[in-house]
């Protein structure tokens, strides 16, 4: 026994000592395995409690009844800052043990973009958010807005609201407010705003008997409306008129047009139809319907289960279609094209691109290097030089050399940025870098979050270009790229938003459809 121990134990020690570097190198897959294997979950109280219900809202629908435009506010950068993409309701958190966390109920509002206004309390100035909540069904509550003529909408009589939460960027002491429909209860609401996540978190204290009714697990009904903030107008919603001005939004078709740029609509409801359903003849306001936040049955949200089943059904069909399309497509002979250009003495970006498409990365790097020698601030050449180096990192036989190329590529992408002068050049660079960062090993380089950021910046550039030809087809590429990168970075929540957005596009390629179906998202165009 001792003799065996004398051999086995040192060898075991040797194996363990050798395994140490391996565990470090292969951390990525090991991390996933450990999270799943040990079932690691963080106490949801820190992030606001377990999620009860999540509601996705279409992106780029911040036009209210259909034609609203933003006010002409001086100093406001261009962007879509009133566009909510997700609303989350948490379960109430009861923490009677530790005094640091108290009892609260949290709601999260996620925007697609948020402006950065440093001279405000919370960090933004344009959005004002009202969340109207019905906690007791039709028992009591209001069907009119908290302040008369603010949002110019009425509420579903089956779900009159009991409490209204007001959030704006100038809130004193970083607090919003909550008020009951009869005005008897008014309290501050703790607000957190995380710029990087473009998310507002509202925590309602559970100190009113009315609010405490939610503790018995009943469904609650939420109306979430977003307007442009005007501190001088009652209720805080800036009015809208036909033409936009510094004190009003534009694009309104009537005096009864709700000054609501975005409303988180329940599934099946259409924002433009409902917000334009007012009756100017009789003076009747548009009536909005609530989101129902309730406990899901054991199998999960039935509509999501149905969607996932449908996606599974369609996936096989589209995978076969993709295989057929790939087989039928004639292989492009990029190498021959590159050689032709070289023979012609071509020394411009055309040959750089041709070498790159042909996978001749070393030559692509040389060619772009020659352009940069002549014109050191040539953004396109700098971008392609970085792309060529990135391509070479995948062609190396030894991991050490690959590592060196990856580092060079990352540094080279960084140096290309200051050279980009036009949105076009930036777009190319963001897309190239985003694709590369999404492809390199996450466990070693941790660049997936940066990749998602690049894809979203590319998307923002394309959206600002409006209907520029050929650009629309790139948007699904950007959103799918961002969603995939966010998934790799472990951010499933945010990834879901962009998969949802990508699914809305009409002219998706088969490959894009397959990518969505694999994640359980059915493109809108395929929904019956």
């Amino acid at each position: 026994m001792k003799k065996i121990a004398k051999i086995i134990i040192p060898l075991t020690a040797l194996i363990i000592a050798s395994a140490l570097p391996m565990s470090y190198m292969f951390q990525g897959p090991l991390v996933e395995g450990v999270v799943k294997g040990l079932g690691i979950k963080v106490d949801p109280r820190y992030s606001g409690g377990e999620v009860l219900a999540k509601f996705l809202d279409p992106m780029d629908d911040d036009r209210g009844e259909g034609g609203l435009v933003y006010p002409d506010l001086p100093g406001l950068p261009g962007g879509r800052f009133l566009d909510v993409v997700k609303y989350t309701v948490h379960r109430p958190v009861l923490n009677t043990f530790e005094g640091g966390l108290s009892d609260f109920w949290q709601m999260d509002v996620v925007f697609s973009e948020i402006e950065n206004s440093p001279n405000t309390t919370l960090g933004f100035r344009l959005p004002v958010v009202h969340i109207y909540i019905d906690v007791d069904g039709a028992e009591g509550g209001g069907t009119r807005t908290a302040r008369e003529n603010t949002e110019l909408v009425a509420f579903d009589p089956a779900h009159p609201w009991d409490y209204m939460i007001h959030i704006d960027g100038f809130a004193g002491d970083e607090k919003g407010s909550i008020v009951s429909f009869d005005g008897a209860y008014e309290r501050p609401v703790e607000i957190f705003f995380v710029k990087e996540k473009k998310t507002l978190y509202a925590r309602v204290k559970l100190d009113d008997p009315g609010i405490k009714r939610i503790l018995d697990g009943r469904p609650t009904y939420h109306y979430v409306v977003v307007g442009a903030f005007d501190p001088l107008s009652a209720g805080g919603f800036m009015p809208v008129a036909e033409k936009a001005g510094p004190r009003n939004g534009g694009g309104a078709r009537s005096a009864l047009t709700p000054p609501i740029y975005d409303w988180v609509e329940p599934e099946g409801a259409r924002q433009d139809r409902i917000l334009s359903s007012y009756d100017t003849v009789n003076g009747a306001l548009a009536v909005i319907v609530p989101l129902e936040a309730k406990e899901l049955p054991k199998g999960g949200d039935p509509s999501r289960v149905e969607s996932a089943n449908r996606a599974a059904e369609l996936l096989t069909v589209y995978q076969e279609r993709l295989a057929r399309e790939t087989a039928a497509a004639p292989p492009a002979d990029f190498a021959a094209a590159a050689e032709r250009l070289a023979a012609q003495g071509n020394a411009d970006m055309e040959i750089v691109k041709a070498y790159y498409e042909a996978g001749m990365y070393e030559k692509a790097e040389e060619a772009s290097g020659r352009i940069l020698e002549a014109a050191p601030d040539h953004a396109g050449a700098a971008t392609y030089a970085a792309m060529a180096i990135a391509g070479q990192s995948g062609q190396q036989s030894s991991p050490m050399k690959s590592l060196a190329f990856v580092n060079r590529a990352i540094a080279r992408f960084d140096t290309a940025f200051p050279l980009c002068r036009t949105p076009e050049e930036l777009l190319t660079l963001y897309l190239a870098r985003g694709r590369y960062f999404a492809a390199i090993p996450e466990s070693l380089f941790r660049k997936s979050a940066a990749a998602a950021d690049d894809f979203l910046k590319a998307a923002a550039i394309i959206r600002r270009q409006g209907d520029a030809p050929g650009r629309a087809a790139l948007l699904p590429v950007c959103y799918l790229g961002a969603a995939g990168a966010l998934l790799r970075a472990g951010n499933e929540d945010e990834a879901e938003i962009y998969f949802h957005k990508a699914a809305e596009f009409k002219d998706l390629t088969t490959g894009q459809i397959v990518a969505l179906l694999e994640r359980g998202f059915v493109p809108t165009a395929l929904l019956r």
Partner: protein, 212 residues
């Protein structure tokens, strides 16, 4: 009523055990336990203390009926909890000091009056007053009855359901070999935990209402 109380205790009793563990475990391990009888005796007295506390609360909640709604508010709960935490913290510090510094004057005096039996019972009463969420849930079921006796019965059954989770404490005498080291560690931790309960969960907590 009986079934409901019992089932509620069984389904949520782990929560009660969790909140009582910081008091029960160091206390039981700090006492000199020679065999299973002594082990069972100590744990039994602690359970008796918990039962007395539960029945007392049950009677009050049942009898007060609707008035109890206002007083079992989470904020008020915590103030009451602060009082019981202060008391249990003080007891833990006193017994911890007595075990570790028997030569001190205070410790000699305390040792003269302290008995593991009544200490056990008191720990049970204080931990029984710990109003954790399942307790609150049980209390809210009893509100509208307006009847002290049914409240006592409900809470007694709730107690039985939660007591299942304390059964492991009966196995302490099995650690005989390591008991001396464990006892030393438990006696030291009594002081630390006592200070934590007295200050952080007791005085500061109660003074601030909500320590924030």
């Amino acid at each position: 009523m009986i079934q409901e109380g019992l089932l509620l205790g069984l389904s949520t009793g782990s929560f009660c055990a969790i909140s009582c563990a910081p008091v029960a475990i160091p206390f039981v391990f700090s006492e000199k336990i020679e065999g299973w009888k002594q082990n069972a005796g100590l744990v039994g007295l602690m359970m008796l203390g918990r039962l007395v506390a539960y029945i007392g609360v049950g009677f009050l909640v049942g009898a007060l009926g609707g008035y109890a709604v206002r007083y079992l508010d989470p904020e008020i709960q915590r103030r009451l909890l602060a009082v019981s935490n202060t008391l249990v913290g003080a007891l833990m510090i006193a017994s911890g000091l007595m075990h570790n510094f028997p030569g001190l004057k205070f410790c000699r005096k305390f040792k003269a009056v302290y008995r593991a039996g009544w200490g056990s019972f008191l720990y049970g009463v204080f931990t029984g007053l710990n109003i954790c969420p399942p307790f609150f849930l049980a209390a809210s079921r009893v509100f509208g009855k307006g009847d002290g006796l049914s409240g006592m019965l409900y809470f007694a059954m709730f107690f039985v359901g939660t007591s299942v989770y304390f059964i492991p404490l009966l196995g302490i005498h099995l650690f005989k070999d390591r008991l001396e080291t464990i006892r030393m560690v438990a006696r030291l931790s009594l002081i630390l935990l006592g200070a934590y309960f007295l200050l952080f969960q007791g005085i500061f907590f109660g003074a601030a209402g909500r320590f924030k």
